[in-house]
Symmetry: C2
Amino acid sequence: MRAALDAARAAAETAEVPVGAVVMQGDRVVAVAANAPRTLHDPTAHAEMLAIRAAAQALGRDRLEDCDLWVTLEPCAMCAGAIAHARIARVYYGAADPKGGAVEHGPRFFTQPTCHHRPEVYSGIGEGEAGELLREFFAARR
Amino acid sequence: MRAALDAARAAAETAEVPVGAVVMQGDRVVAVAANAPRTLHDPTAHAEMLAIRAAAQALGRDRLEDCDLWVTLEPCAMCAGAIAHARIARVYYGAADPKGGAVEHGPRFFTQPTCHHRPEVYSGIGEGEAGELLREFFAARR
């Protein structure tokens, strides 16, 4: 989660909402990414999406059954869907996102009958620092 | 929808589930894409995602408020989330997807309070041909 928080901080420095994500295969870091939709002109470029895509490229396959995802914020519906498609084994996330989250809020996607893979989910990891980064970012832009 | 169906047919020829998508800006085709997660080693590479990403690249921005998406199959949660993030104005889709769809099935994402943009949605367009492509594909693989 340290690497994910560092990526979140890097996102803030490019005026992107500070969210970072890491894909791990056991103890090995496969991919690290920062949220970058504006920078990349890509509405799908959330940290989780970029990390999952980079990990799949690095491993040369479209399923990551042996990988875990660490992310500083509760994934949205798009990212939760991607996590399920990628067959990620475990998801560890920091701050909850009542406005846009899709794991413990809104669609609670992993509980839906149309969700074909349910990762193990662990929340609240590093949430203090992850949430503080987000609060500072939005306060500075008001 | 004709171009989306042609893209779906092209996907089937590469052993991918036959789904195709097109992003239009008024009468102009901005991007066409075929479903390609296996080919690209990218679990996020659904037709809608590839078309949205290509359109955002082509237009040099991360929001597509003036664009419409045509897709041969009901979008999943990942793609519905991406459609909302991209601020797509209208979504036209072909076959319904009771097993994985997220518009009229499962999370019905566009009705969720955590969905921050609701496109106009028109379903059933070209559904006969879109559904037949999918049925032929899965029948041939059984």
